[in-house]
Symmetry: C2
Subunit: 344 residues, 2 copies
């Protein structure tokens, strides 16, 4: 347990202190701690005893400076607090930790004045690799990463031939929902998605929906594709707008959990029964889709898996493994009572 701290602890014990106490050189202590196999059993024990006695904790700055690596991975994830990203970050962190790495997190607001400087800060703090959310970052960002020769990975972005991305097959997800609705004899649907202007993920989701509908001969009228900020209130408003349009759809697909929750609320208020009057399905990028009423049919997106896989990739790179092709994780349809056959 070490000497009761507080007594004479003059700052922090250093390698040199440990070495002196153990009667060996600093090099030996260093090796005993980080390369036990290079050291005799006896001296290693002596060293460890000294370490405990002094409550020695290595100085990471010095270690990193000398070893030229920090065992830290940076992540840039905008506004994750109220998004579906926490699950991703949690799994990213867990997997990194399992491999001995620590997570340095930056979570800029959309209108963060720091802008591209955030990456610079991370690099300055010293990260061995970087995980970024999404794929649309300024060229400057990638240039900086390349210049510093830092492995990086994009999480949940449009897969691309040029960048390393861990994501899922957006088209497969859209097809799952659309096929499901098609099987239930729906021939005209509506879609409420996120703002495509500043959100690449919303963009690609909408694109996938349109394509899927077309390929199944399902009508998805231009007026029935609504854009909205992700949010409860926004989903509510969008749904009401849609209901006022007399567009003739028999099912609605919501682009994410928040929109879905808001839309359900609007339907409830409007007296539209689900799924008797209207079927509802959503893309489930957040756990709370499981809490909604009525229970939604959803496409479960592999959010946690993305984080884990991203960590694996980065650690692999840091261990010298080759760059692998973009990874697309599977999606899954979870059918609940909120979708039914076309109402007559």
């Amino acid at each position: 347990m070490a000497t009761t701290a507080g007594s004479g602890s003059p700052g922090r014990a250093s390698l040199a202190n440990v070495a002196k106490l153990a009667g060996v050189s600093t090099g030996t202590v260093s090796r005993a701690l980080t390369r036990p196999e290079m050291i005799s059993e006896a001296t290693r024990a002596r060293v460890l005893r000294a370490v405990e006695q002094l409550d020695y904790v290595a100085n990471g700055s010095a270690r990193s400076l000398a070893a030229r690596r920090t065992m830290t991975v940076g992540a840039i994830v905008p506004r994750f607090g109220t998004s579906s990203f926490p699950i991703m970050i949690q799994s990213l962190e867990s997997q990194l930790a399992a491999d001995g790495y620590t997570l340095l997190l930056a979570s800029p607001d959309h209108n963060d004045p720091r802008g591209p400087a955030i990456l610079r800060t991370l690099l300055e703090r010293g990260v061995d690799a970087v995980a970024l959310l999404g794929a649309d970052h300024p060229a400057q960002t990638f240039a900086l990463l390349e210049a510093h020769q830092k492995p990086y990975v994009l999480m949940w972005g449009q897969t691309s031939r040029r960048k390393e991305v861990v994501s899922f097959h957006e088209q497969a997800a859209a097809t799952l929902v659309v096929d499901h609705l098609h099987d239930l004899r729906h021939r005209a649907i509506a879609f409420i998605g996120g703002r495509t202007a500043d959100n690449e993920r919303a963009r690609s989701r909408r694109r996938a929906m349109i394509k899927a509908a077309r390929s199944r001969d399902i009508a998805l009228p231009r007026g029935a594709v609504v854009e909205s900020d992700y949010g409860f209130r926004e989903g509510y408003d969008a749904m009401l707008e849609l209901l006022g349009g007399e567009l003739g759809f028999t099912a609605v697909v919501l682009g994410n959990d928040y929109l879905a929750a808001g839309a359900l609320s609007a339907l409830d208020q409007a007296g539209v029964r689900v799924p008797e009057d209207l079927s509802v399905a959503s893309f489930n990028d957040n756990d709370f889709a499981a809490f909604l009423h009525p229970p939604l049919t959803t496409v479960r997106l592999p959010i946690g898996e993305i984080g884990r896989e991203a960590a694996r990739y980065l650690v692999g790179r840091l261990h010298g493994k080759p760059v692998h092709a973009p990874k697309r994780l599977p999606v899954e349809l979870v059918v609940r009572a909120s979708t039914g056959p076309v109402p007559r």
Copy 2:
């Protein structure tokens, strides 16, 4: 924009490189970058130009080693991915960033084999201060923090005279709900809370509820106080159990959002109308309470504020401000349609 990276970039530019290019000494460059006021306008401009030309980014390890601080704050937040903590962490990070600090995040699982070693890892990586979730940590943890003389703060824990805590007044929160129900003429209520065995927050919430009920002469029968893991399924089961008990309560209070969501589902399934047959209220420690149906009356807990305040406190300490007393943030009752007068 700097020389197109990749050409001859032999590793990374150092202070010395910048100094040579600018025709000044390393000391001058260092000061130009971190203490501009000590440097003449002219030379500072020269230095900055050189910095840009070389795309210089400081080496944080070396900087930290020399300056004896890392400008990094560690946070230990268990399993935040599926909890209400992300909001807290987000605001913690934002506030830290605003003050030039970076967040090093550790998020152990409940059964994380790393255990108390996590803090050690953080200290080893070099953090200037630490934020911990909750107040029940092993004595060893605090001892280590003291030994290393690291400022730390507890977020969302039972306030204590001995430790620095940023939290809210659990008793005030409970009183808010109970008073509200009392005003609606409820005289017997039930409470479904988290497992108190391993969760200090659940414990203190239950305690507060019992006390509040007693002080208002509201019955809260022992059998009507149910413990459950936080979770949707768990809330569902607990609610059904409660309904089977014939305990005569006219209102139910749910200990957190997940439990509330599950309970609502159970009520829906059992054909119990809210609030006509039964009033429901909950502690809102997660944004998604706003998405539930029927809309819940909740006590909004200041989760984001806790993070922000914790950051302020730590930064204050690091800037030499004195230790302040435990901080208790205000809570707020948000009344919605889910609570009504006692059904006849």
